[in-house]
Protein backbone atom coordinates (compact mmCIF):
# COMPACT_ATOMS: atom_id res chain seq x y z
CA UNK A 1 0.00 0.00 0.00
CA UNK A 2 2.83 2.36 0.88
CA UNK A 3 4.42 1.59 -2.49
CA UNK A 4 1.27 2.60 -4.33
CA UNK A 5 1.03 5.85 -2.39
CA UNK A 6 4.64 6.57 -3.31
CA UNK A 7 3.90 6.03 -6.99
CA UNK A 8 0.84 8.26 -6.76
CA UNK A 9 2.32 11.09 -4.72
CA UNK A 10 5.55 11.70 -6.60
CA UNK A 11 3.59 13.33 -9.41
CA UNK A 12 2.14 15.92 -7.03
CA UNK A 13 5.22 17.93 -6.00
CA UNK A 14 8.62 16.33 -6.49
CA UNK A 15 8.00 15.39 -10.13
CA UNK A 16 5.26 17.87 -10.87
CA UNK A 17 4.79 17.77 -14.65
CA UNK A 18 4.48 21.50 -15.14
CA UNK A 19 6.68 23.18 -12.54
CA UNK A 20 9.47 20.65 -12.16
CA UNK A 21 9.60 18.63 -15.37
CA UNK A 22 8.51 21.68 -17.42
CA UNK A 23 6.58 19.47 -19.83
CA UNK A 24 3.26 20.32 -21.48
CA UNK A 25 3.49 24.03 -20.93
CA UNK A 26 1.24 25.06 -23.80
CA UNK A 27 -2.04 24.22 -22.03
CA UNK A 28 -0.75 25.56 -18.72
CA UNK A 29 -0.61 29.01 -20.27
CA UNK A 30 -3.36 28.87 -22.83
CA UNK A 31 -6.44 27.62 -20.99
CA UNK A 32 -5.76 28.88 -17.45
CA UNK A 33 -7.59 32.19 -17.83
CA UNK A 34 -10.26 30.87 -15.46
CA UNK A 35 -10.40 28.15 -12.82
CA UNK A 36 -13.20 26.23 -14.55
CA UNK A 37 -11.29 25.91 -17.82
CA UNK A 38 -8.12 24.96 -15.97
CA UNK A 39 -9.96 22.26 -14.03
CA UNK A 40 -11.64 20.86 -17.15
CA UNK A 41 -8.32 20.68 -18.99
CA UNK A 42 -6.59 19.15 -15.98
CA UNK A 43 -9.21 16.43 -15.58
CA UNK A 44 -9.15 15.65 -19.30
CA UNK A 45 -5.39 15.24 -19.21
CA UNK A 46 -5.59 13.11 -16.04
CA UNK A 47 -8.14 10.87 -17.77
CA UNK A 48 -5.99 10.54 -20.88
CA UNK A 49 -2.73 9.84 -19.00
CA UNK A 50 -4.21 7.16 -16.74
CA UNK A 51 -6.21 5.43 -19.49
CA UNK A 52 -3.25 5.50 -21.84
CA UNK A 53 -0.93 4.14 -19.15
CA UNK A 54 -3.41 1.32 -18.61
CA UNK A 55 -3.62 0.46 -22.31
CA UNK A 56 0.13 0.69 -22.90
CA UNK A 57 0.81 -1.45 -19.85
CA UNK A 58 -1.64 -4.15 -20.96
CA UNK A 59 -0.09 -4.44 -24.41
CA UNK A 60 3.49 -3.89 -23.26
CA UNK A 61 4.60 -7.49 -23.91
CA UNK A 62 2.93 -7.73 -27.32
CA UNK A 63 4.50 -4.64 -28.87
CA UNK A 64 7.71 -4.84 -30.83
CA UNK A 65 10.04 -2.22 -29.32
CA UNK A 66 10.86 -0.86 -32.77
CA UNK A 67 7.32 0.30 -33.46
CA UNK A 68 6.37 1.24 -29.91
CA UNK A 69 6.21 5.02 -30.40
CA UNK A 70 3.68 4.95 -33.28
CA UNK A 71 1.57 2.50 -31.25
CA UNK A 72 1.63 4.74 -28.19
CA UNK A 73 0.68 7.74 -30.31
CA UNK A 74 -2.23 5.88 -31.90
CA UNK A 75 -3.45 4.84 -28.48
CA UNK A 76 -3.19 8.40 -27.13
CA UNK A 77 -4.95 9.83 -30.17
CA UNK A 78 -7.81 7.35 -29.80
CA UNK A 79 -8.33 8.17 -26.13
CA UNK A 80 -8.15 11.91 -26.80
CA UNK A 81 -10.76 11.60 -29.55
CA UNK A 82 -12.96 9.71 -27.09
CA UNK A 83 -12.56 12.46 -24.49
CA UNK A 84 -13.28 15.09 -27.15
CA UNK A 85 -16.51 13.40 -28.23
CA UNK A 86 -17.63 12.96 -24.61
CA UNK A 87 -17.04 16.64 -23.81
CA UNK A 88 -18.73 17.72 -27.03
CA UNK A 89 -21.79 15.67 -26.12
CA UNK A 90 -22.10 16.51 -22.41
CA UNK A 91 -20.38 19.91 -21.97
CA UNK A 92 -20.53 21.76 -25.30
CA UNK A 93 -19.66 25.13 -23.74
CA UNK A 94 -16.45 23.84 -22.19
CA UNK A 95 -15.65 22.10 -25.46
CA UNK A 96 -15.89 25.44 -27.23
CA UNK A 97 -13.75 27.22 -24.61
CA UNK A 98 -10.97 24.67 -24.71
CA UNK A 99 -11.14 24.65 -28.51
CA UNK A 100 -8.06 23.56 -30.36
CA UNK A 101 -6.07 22.87 -27.19
CA UNK A 102 -8.24 19.83 -26.56
CA UNK A 103 -7.09 18.17 -29.79
CA UNK A 104 -3.55 19.16 -28.94
CA UNK A 105 -3.61 16.97 -25.82
CA UNK A 106 -2.41 14.28 -28.24
CA UNK A 107 1.04 15.77 -28.49
CA UNK A 108 1.57 16.61 -24.81
CA UNK A 109 5.04 15.39 -24.00
CA UNK A 110 4.05 14.29 -20.49
CA UNK A 111 1.64 11.59 -21.75
CA UNK A 112 4.13 9.98 -24.10
CA UNK A 113 6.86 10.33 -21.47
CA UNK A 114 4.85 8.42 -18.82
CA UNK A 115 4.01 5.67 -21.34
CA UNK A 116 7.67 5.30 -22.25
CA UNK A 117 9.21 5.71 -18.80
CA UNK A 118 6.69 3.94 -16.59
CA UNK A 119 3.81 2.09 -18.25
CA UNK A 120 5.96 0.12 -20.68
CA UNK A 121 7.80 -1.50 -17.76
CA UNK A 122 5.15 -1.93 -15.04
CA UNK A 123 1.94 -3.94 -14.54
CA UNK A 124 -1.43 -2.36 -15.42
CA UNK A 125 -2.67 -1.35 -11.96
CA UNK A 126 0.56 0.35 -10.94
CA UNK A 127 0.72 2.16 -14.28
CA UNK A 128 -2.83 3.37 -13.84
CA UNK A 129 -1.95 4.78 -10.39
CA UNK A 130 1.14 6.45 -11.81
CA UNK A 131 -0.96 8.07 -14.52
CA UNK A 132 -3.51 9.19 -11.93
CA UNK A 133 -0.77 10.77 -9.77
CA UNK A 134 0.77 12.61 -12.70
CA UNK A 135 -2.68 13.70 -13.81
CA UNK A 136 -3.49 15.04 -10.34
CA UNK A 137 -0.16 16.89 -10.18
CA UNK A 138 -0.96 18.40 -13.55
CA UNK A 139 -4.48 19.38 -12.45
CA UNK A 140 -3.10 20.88 -9.22
CA UNK A 141 -0.62 23.03 -11.13
CA UNK A 142 -3.33 24.13 -13.57
CA UNK A 143 -5.61 25.05 -10.65
CA UNK A 144 -2.92 27.15 -8.96
CA UNK A 145 -2.16 29.04 -12.15
CA UNK A 146 -5.85 29.39 -13.04
CA UNK A 147 -6.81 30.67 -9.59
CA UNK A 148 -4.06 33.31 -9.48
CA UNK A 149 -4.85 34.51 -12.98
CA UNK A 150 -8.60 34.67 -12.44
CA UNK A 151 -8.36 36.47 -9.07
CA UNK A 152 -5.82 39.06 -10.17
CA UNK A 153 -7.00 39.48 -13.73
CA UNK A 154 -10.74 39.43 -13.24
CA UNK A 155 -11.32 39.86 -9.50
CA UNK A 156 -13.38 36.67 -9.38
CA UNK A 157 -12.93 33.05 -8.36
CA UNK A 158 -15.10 30.40 -10.03
CA UNK A 159 -17.18 33.29 -11.27
CA UNK A 160 -17.84 34.80 -7.79
CA UNK A 161 -16.51 38.24 -6.88
CA UNK A 162 -13.75 37.82 -4.29
CA UNK A 163 -11.83 41.08 -4.44
CA UNK A 164 -13.12 44.28 -2.81
CA UNK A 165 -15.56 46.34 -4.88
CA UNK A 166 -13.17 49.08 -5.99
CA UNK A 167 -10.60 46.56 -7.20
CA UNK A 168 -9.19 47.42 -10.61
CA UNK A 169 -8.56 44.07 -12.39
CA UNK A 170 -5.00 43.69 -13.66
CA UNK A 171 -5.95 42.79 -17.20
CA UNK A 172 -2.42 41.72 -18.05
CA UNK A 173 -2.85 38.56 -15.97
CA UNK A 174 -5.58 37.28 -18.30
CA UNK A 175 -3.52 38.15 -21.38
CA UNK A 176 -0.53 36.29 -22.74
CA UNK A 177 2.37 38.29 -21.21
CA UNK A 178 1.01 37.91 -17.67
CA UNK A 179 0.85 34.15 -18.07
CA UNK A 180 4.51 33.92 -19.03
CA UNK A 181 5.67 36.15 -16.20
CA UNK A 182 3.54 34.35 -13.59
CA UNK A 183 4.89 30.95 -14.63
CA UNK A 184 8.41 32.33 -14.44
CA UNK A 185 7.92 33.27 -10.78
CA UNK A 186 6.08 30.03 -9.97
CA UNK A 187 8.95 27.97 -11.41
CA UNK A 188 11.38 29.95 -9.27
CA UNK A 189 9.13 29.41 -6.23
CA UNK A 190 9.00 25.64 -6.76
CA UNK A 191 12.78 25.61 -7.15
CA UNK A 192 13.23 27.30 -3.75
CA UNK A 193 10.65 24.95 -2.20
CA UNK A 194 12.31 21.75 -3.42
CA UNK A 195 15.75 23.06 -2.40
CA UNK A 196 14.41 23.65 1.14
CA UNK A 197 12.90 20.14 1.27
CA UNK A 198 16.18 18.61 0.18
CA UNK A 199 18.17 20.71 2.63
CA UNK A 200 15.90 19.68 5.49
CA UNK A 201 16.27 16.05 4.49
CA UNK A 202 20.06 16.35 4.34
CA UNK A 203 20.13 17.89 7.83
CA UNK A 204 18.14 14.98 9.20
CA UNK A 205 20.65 12.70 7.52
CA UNK A 206 18.11 11.05 5.25
CA UNK A 207 18.97 9.97 1.76
CA UNK A 208 16.40 10.14 -0.99
Amino acid sequence: MKGLWGIFSKGLVLENPIFVLALSLCPALAVTTSVVNALAMGLTVAFVISMNNLVVSIVRNLVNPKVRVPIYITSIATIVTLAELLLKAFAPLLYKDLGIYLSLVVVFAIILARAEVFASKNPPFKSFIDGLGMGCGFTLAMLIIGAIREVLGNGTLLGYQVMWSGYQPALIMILAPGAFILIGYLVAGFKILSERIEKARAERGETV
Binding site: A22, L23, S24, L25, C26, L29, A30, P70, I73, T74, A77, T78, V80, T81, E84, L85, I100, S103, L104, V106, V107, F108, A109, L112, I172, L175, A176, P177, G178, A179, F180, I181, I183, G184, Y185, V187, A188, G189, K191, I192, E195
Partner: protein, 193 residues
Protein backbone atom coordinates in the same frame (compact mmCIF):
# COMPACT_ATOMS: atom_id res chain seq x y z
CA UNK B 1 -3.94 39.63 -53.06
CA UNK B 2 -4.37 42.03 -50.14
CA UNK B 3 -6.27 39.26 -48.37
CA UNK B 4 -3.30 36.95 -48.52
CA UNK B 5 -0.87 39.63 -47.41
CA UNK B 6 -3.00 40.49 -44.39
CA UNK B 7 -3.34 36.82 -43.50
CA UNK B 8 0.43 36.43 -43.71
CA UNK B 9 1.21 39.47 -41.56
CA UNK B 10 -1.50 38.42 -39.14
CA UNK B 11 0.09 35.01 -38.69
CA UNK B 12 3.60 36.46 -38.32
CA UNK B 13 3.09 39.28 -35.85
CA UNK B 14 -0.49 39.79 -34.66
CA UNK B 15 -1.37 36.19 -33.83
CA UNK B 16 2.19 35.02 -33.32
CA UNK B 17 1.85 31.36 -32.41
CA UNK B 18 4.39 31.27 -29.64
CA UNK B 19 3.75 34.56 -27.94
CA UNK B 20 -0.01 34.93 -28.18
CA UNK B 21 -1.33 31.39 -28.70
CA UNK B 22 1.25 29.48 -26.65
CA UNK B 23 1.95 26.75 -29.19
CA UNK B 24 5.36 25.13 -29.59
CA UNK B 25 6.60 26.24 -26.18
CA UNK B 26 8.63 23.07 -25.56
CA UNK B 27 10.90 23.78 -28.51
CA UNK B 28 10.76 27.51 -27.88
CA UNK B 29 12.29 27.13 -24.41
CA UNK B 30 14.32 24.01 -25.15
CA UNK B 31 16.28 25.16 -28.20
CA UNK B 32 16.58 28.90 -27.63
CA UNK B 33 19.82 28.70 -25.66
CA UNK B 34 22.01 29.62 -28.60
CA UNK B 35 21.43 31.66 -31.68
CA UNK B 36 22.63 29.37 -34.49
CA UNK B 37 20.66 26.35 -33.26
CA UNK B 38 17.51 28.42 -32.94
CA UNK B 39 17.90 29.73 -36.49
CA UNK B 40 18.15 26.15 -37.79
CA UNK B 41 15.16 25.12 -35.73
CA UNK B 42 13.10 28.04 -37.01
CA UNK B 43 13.79 27.05 -40.62
CA UNK B 44 13.08 23.37 -39.99
CA UNK B 45 9.76 24.18 -38.28
CA UNK B 46 8.72 26.48 -41.14
CA UNK B 47 9.46 23.78 -43.71
CA UNK B 48 7.63 21.06 -41.80
CA UNK B 49 4.58 23.20 -41.01
CA UNK B 50 4.21 24.26 -44.62
CA UNK B 51 4.51 20.78 -46.09
CA UNK B 52 2.37 19.07 -43.49
CA UNK B 53 -0.36 21.70 -43.79
CA UNK B 54 -0.51 20.99 -47.52
CA UNK B 55 -0.84 17.24 -47.00
CA UNK B 56 -3.28 17.64 -44.16
CA UNK B 57 -5.48 19.96 -46.22
CA UNK B 58 -5.58 17.49 -49.11
CA UNK B 59 -6.34 14.53 -46.85
CA UNK B 60 -9.04 16.42 -44.97
CA UNK B 61 -10.85 17.81 -47.99
CA UNK B 62 -10.55 14.84 -50.34
CA UNK B 63 -10.72 11.88 -47.95
CA UNK B 64 -12.14 12.73 -44.52
CA UNK B 65 -14.84 15.19 -45.59
CA UNK B 66 -16.41 13.11 -48.42
CA UNK B 67 -16.41 9.99 -46.25
CA UNK B 68 -17.89 11.79 -43.24
CA UNK B 69 -14.94 10.81 -41.08
CA UNK B 70 -14.15 14.23 -39.64
CA UNK B 71 -14.21 12.89 -36.08
CA UNK B 72 -10.99 11.05 -36.97
CA UNK B 73 -9.21 14.31 -37.86
CA UNK B 74 -6.93 14.34 -34.81
CA UNK B 75 -5.74 10.74 -35.16
CA UNK B 76 -5.22 11.00 -38.91
CA UNK B 77 -3.30 14.29 -38.68
CA UNK B 78 -0.99 13.05 -35.92
CA UNK B 79 -0.10 9.88 -37.79
CA UNK B 80 0.19 11.73 -41.08
CA UNK B 81 2.60 14.31 -39.68
CA UNK B 82 4.69 11.82 -37.70
CA UNK B 83 5.16 9.51 -40.68
CA UNK B 84 5.73 12.42 -43.03
CA UNK B 85 8.48 13.83 -40.82
CA UNK B 86 10.14 10.40 -40.68
CA UNK B 87 10.04 10.24 -44.48
CA UNK B 88 11.44 13.75 -44.79
CA UNK B 89 14.26 12.82 -42.45
CA UNK B 90 15.17 9.78 -44.58
CA UNK B 91 15.09 11.78 -47.81
CA UNK B 92 17.22 14.58 -46.38
CA UNK B 93 19.67 12.05 -44.96
CA UNK B 94 20.03 10.31 -48.32
CA UNK B 95 20.32 13.29 -50.64
CA UNK B 96 21.76 16.17 -48.62
CA UNK B 97 23.86 14.75 -45.77
CA UNK B 98 25.14 18.22 -44.87
CA UNK B 99 21.65 19.56 -44.34
CA UNK B 100 20.87 16.44 -42.35
CA UNK B 101 23.74 17.15 -40.01
CA UNK B 102 22.29 20.59 -39.35
CA UNK B 103 18.61 19.68 -39.20
CA UNK B 104 18.40 15.96 -38.47
CA UNK B 105 17.99 16.18 -34.74
CA UNK B 106 15.42 18.99 -34.97
CA UNK B 107 13.30 17.10 -37.46
CA UNK B 108 12.73 14.27 -35.00
CA UNK B 109 11.92 16.72 -32.22
CA UNK B 110 9.31 18.34 -34.42
CA UNK B 111 7.54 15.06 -35.25
CA UNK B 112 5.05 15.32 -32.42
CA UNK B 113 4.81 18.98 -31.60
CA UNK B 114 1.83 21.16 -30.90
CA UNK B 115 2.64 23.97 -33.32
CA UNK B 116 3.06 21.52 -36.21
CA UNK B 117 -0.24 19.81 -35.39
CA UNK B 118 -1.96 23.06 -34.43
CA UNK B 119 -1.58 24.93 -37.71
CA UNK B 120 -3.23 22.26 -39.91
CA UNK B 121 -6.03 21.91 -37.35
CA UNK B 122 -6.65 25.66 -37.31
CA UNK B 123 -6.61 25.69 -41.11
CA UNK B 124 -9.35 23.10 -41.43
CA UNK B 125 -11.36 24.57 -38.55
CA UNK B 126 -11.39 28.01 -40.19
CA UNK B 127 -12.37 26.43 -43.55
CA UNK B 128 -9.44 28.04 -45.37
CA UNK B 129 -8.94 27.41 -49.09
CA UNK B 130 -5.77 25.63 -50.19
CA UNK B 131 -3.96 28.88 -50.99
CA UNK B 132 -4.96 30.47 -47.70
CA UNK B 133 -3.85 27.42 -45.71
CA UNK B 134 -0.50 27.61 -47.40
CA UNK B 135 -0.08 31.32 -46.64
CA UNK B 136 -1.19 30.82 -43.04
CA UNK B 137 1.27 27.94 -42.62
CA UNK B 138 4.24 29.88 -44.02
CA UNK B 139 3.31 32.90 -41.91
CA UNK B 140 3.04 30.83 -38.75
CA UNK B 141 6.42 29.24 -39.45
CA UNK B 142 8.08 32.60 -40.05
CA UNK B 143 6.48 33.97 -36.89
CA UNK B 144 7.80 31.02 -34.90
CA UNK B 145 11.28 31.45 -36.38
CA UNK B 146 11.27 35.15 -35.56
CA UNK B 147 10.17 34.58 -31.97
CA UNK B 148 12.74 31.86 -31.30
CA UNK B 149 15.59 33.90 -32.81
CA UNK B 150 14.63 36.96 -30.74
CA UNK B 151 14.45 34.79 -27.64
CA UNK B 152 17.84 33.21 -28.31
CA UNK B 153 19.45 36.62 -28.76
CA UNK B 154 18.04 37.75 -25.41
CA UNK B 155 19.20 34.58 -23.66
CA UNK B 156 22.72 34.88 -25.08
CA UNK B 157 22.96 38.35 -23.58
CA UNK B 158 21.42 37.12 -20.33
CA UNK B 159 24.28 34.72 -19.78
CA UNK B 160 26.46 37.69 -18.81
CA UNK B 161 23.82 39.12 -16.48
CA UNK B 162 23.68 38.57 -12.76
CA UNK B 163 20.37 36.74 -12.29
CA UNK B 164 19.03 35.77 -8.83
CA UNK B 165 19.87 32.13 -8.19
CA UNK B 166 16.33 30.80 -7.96
CA UNK B 167 15.24 32.54 -11.17
CA UNK B 168 18.24 31.32 -13.13
CA UNK B 169 17.48 29.10 -16.11
CA UNK B 170 13.83 28.42 -16.87
CA UNK B 171 12.43 31.10 -14.55
CA UNK B 172 14.14 34.07 -16.16
CA UNK B 173 13.47 32.59 -19.62
CA UNK B 174 9.73 32.75 -18.91
CA UNK B 175 9.95 36.34 -17.75
CA UNK B 176 11.90 37.33 -20.87
CA UNK B 177 9.22 35.59 -22.96
CA UNK B 178 6.61 37.60 -21.05
CA UNK B 179 8.37 40.85 -21.98
CA UNK B 180 8.56 39.74 -25.63
CA UNK B 181 4.85 38.90 -25.55
CA UNK B 182 4.18 42.35 -24.11
CA UNK B 183 6.11 43.91 -27.00
CA UNK B 184 4.15 41.83 -29.52
CA UNK B 185 0.95 43.00 -27.90
CA UNK B 186 1.62 46.34 -29.54
CA UNK B 187 0.66 44.70 -32.85
CA UNK B 188 -2.73 43.50 -31.67
CA UNK B 189 -5.68 45.18 -33.31
CA UNK B 190 -3.51 46.28 -36.24
CA UNK B 191 -5.15 43.70 -38.45
CA UNK B 192 -8.65 42.54 -37.68
CA UNK B 193 -9.69 39.38 -39.36
Amino acid sequence: MMDYFLLFMGAVVVNNFVLTRFLGLCIFFGVSKNLSASGGMGMAVTAVITLSSMFAWLVYNYILLPLNLTFLTTIVFVLLIASFVQLLEMIVKKYTPNLHKMWGIYLLLIATNCVVLGVPLINVESHFSFGKSLVNAVGSGVGFAMAIVLMASCREKLRLADVPKSLDGLGIAFIVAGCLALAFFGFSGMITM
